[in-house]
């Protein structure tokens, strides 16, 4: 009998506690007091912090020399994005979509000379020249049910691009719906071997046999050179995009194959790379940089919130530290976050 009474009391107290927590509204929300309402507190803090970071980033755009306000904004962002309480919350969605809308607005501005390089979520980039706008590894992030970047924003971005190049098959680099949206608009998609075979004539899986594979895009005044990289056993196209007379960028995708380093060592002998866009955790960063011999580095893949636990969400401060280790190479780098751009001129 005692056991029944104890169990009943226990169940009652648990249900009361749960009900109190879930059904009550914070009576002191107007006073900004959150005792007992941790989730509300965290959302308020994230909203305030994301806004302050956004303001600071807008006031301190990407440069070769990173200023204290910008560095603090990026570290503050790292802290927010490494607190799993902020994953898939409204403040995060608002932040990333606001930044994408800023990017969209800017994408309509013509580039008259050189290259404008936009950074998107994960390893996504858009490179815009006076004659072409190319997307690389453009994905929405998040789940199909609730992507980080909304469908409307992603498709508007796609609508402003002339072609999409995809490094490899992983979901944090390749998204079939986005590829289809490019094809539906009559735009070409260059994918790695065996990916999306037969989906659409404009979606072309590339057989890359050596470092001489290339495609001419005459109407866009550019040449795409596709180098045969790997991530483990998966094909990983390293896309070297030569915008005639404006500059050449190389995007390494998730390059992670030691065997490939033997030919990567010599890429600079064949191609005059202006901007190298390696994933920030690329296998042997120093050797990769030496191999490509770029004039500028812009890293990708920081703060991937999807599959990885926080120890593999590479932070902006880690990129700063890693690039400090490369100072002897005397190659400048620019650290960017989502929705930002940097103008490169030869």
């Amino acid at each position: 009998m005692k056991q029944y009474i104890f169990t009943a009391l226990l169940l009652f107290s648990v249900s009361v506690a749960v009900t109190a927590q879930t059904s009550d509204e914070n009576p002191y929300a107007n006073n900004y007091i959150y005792w007992g309402y941790l989730s509300d507190y965290k959302q308020g803090q994230a909203t305030t912090a994301f806004n302050a970071i956004n303001e600071m980033l807008n006031a301190n755009p990407p440069q070769k020399v990173i200023s204290l306000p910008r560095e603090l904004a990026l570290v503050s962002l790292d802290q927010l994005l490494h607190d799993t309480d902020n994953d898939a919350t409204d403040p995060f969605y608002t932040f990333i979509n606001n930044r994408m809308r800023q990017l969209l607005k800017d994408l309509d501005t013509p580039v008259t000379k050189g290259l404008r390089i936009y950074k998107l979520y994960n390893d996504g980039f858009i490179v815009k020249s006076p004659k072409a706008t190319i997307a690389i590894d453009l994905i929405p992030g998040g789940s199909n049910a609730k992507p980080f970047i909304t469908d409307s924003v992603v498709y508007e971005i796609a609508g402003r691009c002339d072609a999409l190049f995809i490094s490899h098959l992983h979901a944090d680099h390749a998204n079939l719906n986005i590829a289809k949206s490019f094809a539906a608009r009559g735009k070409r998609v260059i994918a790695p071997k065996n990916l999306w075979v037969g989906v659409d004539p404009l979606i072309q899986p590339m057989e890359v046999e050596n470092v001489e594979t290339h495609i001419e895009f005459e109407e866009l005044d550019l040449t795409l050179h596709v180098l045969p990289g790997h991530q483990g056993n998966d094909y990983n196209n390293i896309n070297v995009v030569e915008f005639h007379n404006e500059g050449t960028v190389a995007h390494t995708g998730d390059q992670w194959g030691t065997a490939d380093l033997t030919w990567i060592d010599h890429v600079h002998e064949r191609y005059d790379i202006d901007v190298l866009m390696p994933n920030c955790w690329v296998n042997d960063m120093e050797r990769t940089i030496r191999g490509f011999g770029p004039k500028l580095i812009i890293t990708g893949h920081e703060n991937e919130l999807g599959e990885h636990t926080i120890d593999h969400r590479e932070a902006y401060w880690m990129t700063i530290k890693k690039m400090e280790l490369m100072e002897d190479l005397n190659i400048p780098y620019v650290l960017m976050t989502w929705g930002e751009y940097y103008d490169y001129r030869k």
């Binding site: 006073n31 803090q45 305030t48 603090l72 570290v75 790292d78 607190d83 890693k322």
Partner: protein, 388 residues
Amino acid sequence: MNNLFSIPNRLLRTGLACIMAIGVILPVAAQRKASSSFDDDYIFWGYPNVYLNYQAKVAYPLINRMLQANPPAVKIDKNRRLALITLDQFLHDSDGMRRDAFYTFVNTRMEEMLAGIDQPVLSGVRIYKLYNSGFILKTLKTTIAVDLVPGGATNKSFLTDSVIFEVADRCDALLITNSDSKHANRDVAETFVALGKKVILPEGLWTNMEEDLLPVGSDTTQIVELGAMRLYVLPGHRGNAKNNIYVMDFHGRGVVAHTGAQDNDADWEWIDNVHSRYNIDILLTKSQNINLESMLTGFRPRLVITAHENDIESVVDKRESYWTTQKRMQSLAGLAIPNVIMTWGEAYDYADTGSPNISSSATKVMMNGTLVIERKGSIYTPTGKKLK
């Protein structure tokens, strides 16, 4: 049969034991090896807590630099706002006080404060903010600590013993508002007593060392003369416990009130009218107060400096943050009382010439090659000691 299998069985068991031992030893060894080699490549895969420790180690110095470049002001700019909200984030990490970088940050700020604390205050009062509700108030002649606590555990306090000693050594007295450990610390009081400094505290606290202390506070206002300061002790309460509200009149250098942990509805009757009795320049009051508006209208100060943010020993949702203080003060903008949000170790000089409480200022002069302070014909050392 048993004998036949005994040797293979033993071998099997020994082998399994070895495999298990290797399975345990290898990850531990890997952890140790990796822990010492993160500086080589900044890859933390498999070590989330090491990652977070490192992130804090990187962030705190940046926050510190940004705060130094953007000191407290009535109008907070975006640089300072970002530094404070970033600090809020790190201090609302539930493991925040277990990270070494936190201790380094707090004590670095204390050392920086101590490095500048001997600079003379020529006019008005300089306010230093310390952990929780702790403050130091310094004028040319007087230095008072209020609710100075080290924070943290006895065996690992946030503020080191040497910091507490250095602060106590520079102060004339310690005022304690109430008995709560977030405001009162016996070791700190003993340090003051050992240095021959006065300790003023609520009646009934630490009765076995009463001969060294000056208990004050009753049902009516008390007045205590402390050298160049007159102290009014108002009979506040934290719940039913005594909470001395101190009004410090620094005779021509400003009037400062500290409300401690005031929290008792019955006291509003007289708090509502404090302004009719005292002309307050600065109100030091806890931010986490659903009756903050009533407190401000009762005291009607010329400036508010909030206290008690980021009490990291409380659960996360009770650690008041700088951003909530800012929002709260914005919601009270209609009162037209300016506010300054400060963090640990920061100083703010209040020398409002418009205040009738501030009557004169001193000047620095060189006398026989030595810097001295001249005020109303008298000469003082930079630390306020009268020479002639």
